[in-house]
Structures are given as C-alpha cells and as structure tokens.
C-alpha cells in the first residue's frame, strides 16, 4: 500500500532538476504550507509535461509576477508574501497565453467551487465509532 521510496526519490530528482533554475524567492520558499500549494506546484509540472508551454516561459512568468509584487511596494503586513500565489499567477498567465484559459472562465469556475459544500454527499456528522472491535478474550 505504500509507495516505493526509491521510485519516489527518482521522480523527485527529476522534478527538482526542473525547478532548480526558478527564482526561489526567499530561503526556504519552496517548502509547502498549504495543500493547494502542492497542487498548484504539481499542475504546473504536469501541464509542462503535457507540452503546453516551454519551461522557460513559465520561469519568466514567475519572475515577472514576483517582480511586479516587489515593485508595487505593498505593505507585507497587508498582503503577506506567498511564493505559491505567484506560482499560481504564473501558471494562469502561461495557460492564458496559449489560449487555454481566460480569467473570466476561471473566476466563474472558482465561484461554483466555493458555492459547493465540500464533499457534498458526506456532511453528516458521525458521533459514535463506526466500528468497535472489543478485546479478544
């Protein structure tokens, strides 16, 4: 049931060779704090593997998003730095550039995701154990 560690290590080396040339933002910025960050990270790699853009295009787009944020001189107190928000912006930008995505399409879909209860079919609270295996005597 568990993934093979060697195989995962190999896969990880391949992905890391890819991201090695990206701007790192600040030290430790590649660490993930939220599940969506990994998801966004993985999607950019998957779309690249699918041939949707050159990796250098994504790289430039990410650099540009970070640069714009830095130039804007926004107060980090009001808007905390998030490396993966820039990552997401960069991904949206390159996908829009190849005509696959429009901002309005994504805004619409996001609204419907927010309006759908998570696990719509599994909201009922279960207050007792679903199974009890008593001591064996």
């Amino acid at each position: 049931m568990r993934p093979d560690a060697t195989e995962l290590g190999e896969a990880r080396r391949r992905v890391e060779a890819l991201v090695a040339d990206l701007p790192a933002g600040r030290p430790g910025e590649h660490a993930f704090n939220e599940p969506w960050e990994i998801r966004a990270f993985a999607m950019a790699v998957a779309a690249y593997h699918n041939g949707q853009y050159e990796w250098s295009e994504f790289q430039l787009s990410l650099i540009e998003s970070i640069r714009q944020w830095e130039r804007s001189g926004r107060d980090p107190e009001d808007e905390p730095w998030s490396y993966y928000e820039h990552w997401l912006t960069a991904l949206e930008t390159v996908l829009a550039g190849s005509g696959l995505l429009s901002e309005s399409m994504l805004d619409e879909r996001t609204k419907s995701v927010l309006a759908t209860p998570r696990n719509a079919n599994h909201q009922h609270a279960h207050r007792e154990p679903v199974a009890v295996d008593p001591p064996v005597h």
Partner: protein
Amino acid sequence: MSTHVRSQEEIAARVKALESILIEKGIMTTAAVDRLVEIYENEVGPQLGAKVVARAWTDPAFKQRLLADATKACADFGIGGLQGEDMVVVENTADIHNVIVCTLCSCYPWPVLGLPPNWYKEPAYRSRIVKEPRKVLREDFGYELSDSVEVRVWDSSSEMRYWVLPVRPAGTDALSEAELAGLVTRDSMIGVGPAASPVS
C-alpha cells in the same frame, strides 16, 4: 489580477477550479497530478498536529481542553480556519485504541495532519479498516495490538473530522516538548501506528 487580498480558502478554490478545467480540456489527469503530489506529501503537515500532541502530553490542562473541543484548542496554535467543521480528538489509552477513516471519500483533518497519504484514500483501507481493524493494523501496517485492547474506528465526514491522540511513549520523561513532537508520526495520529520511541 485584482488587488483584493484572497483568503486561503479562495485560493484553494481557484486551484481546484483550475485543475477541473485542465482535466476537462484533457491537458492532465488527476492521477498525473496526484503522482507529483505524492513526491511531496510528507512536507505539508503533520508537524502541526505533532506540536499539539506534544503539548497535550506535557500540559494536562491543555489536554483536557483538546479533548473537550479540539477545534478551539487548535486555534491556540493558529490551526484551523476552515468552513466551520469540527475537529474531534480521540485519546488512545492502555485499554482503548482509536483509528480514523473516511468511509465515503477522504475527509481528513488536513490542517493538523497535512495531506492524506494515498492509501488513506483507497477503497481497500476505507472498507477493510471498518470490518477487520485489528487485522488491517497487523497486516498492512505491522502494528500488533494486545488482545486486551478495544479498537474503535471513527468515520470522519466534512462536518466532523477525527484524529488520534497517541499514547506517550515510555522513557520520555526527560524530553522537552519539541523533542516529544519529533516522536509524533502522521501514522500515530491516524491510529495506524504508535508514536515513535526515543533513540536511547
């Protein structure tokens, strides 16, 4: 891009929306994304849950609050902020062992435990752990429970998410809270393994 500062929930929804569009367009499959996520899944959480457990082991008053209202107690650590769902912590003792599952999908207390491992989402675990918990713990996780222990299986839903407060390992009286947190594994908070023992 709008100047509106987006909440984590809004961004997470946007990422989900983007994924669904790209899947519809045939650009990627969920499996391909899952495969990449798997490489990194251990890096989100479960450090947060481990901190909470270590505090509960060292601070009896905190432990009482955690067991009474885990959502509120976790807020002390800045953990939570989801759509109002409740977290419930179930305590392992010498006589009772708890294990969590989501029988229908993969509801999981990710603010404390990070992303669920793939096996947690698989039908094999979801159905078997309910029918024969003792056997699954032994065969799939190499975790042998004493016959005198009662096993309770808790079904998480999106309204109520369970996680496990493992038993504090023996021989850890001299350890600091941070050292204790290092012994708390993800599996021990799912209930499919014990907390690690200190290296002596």
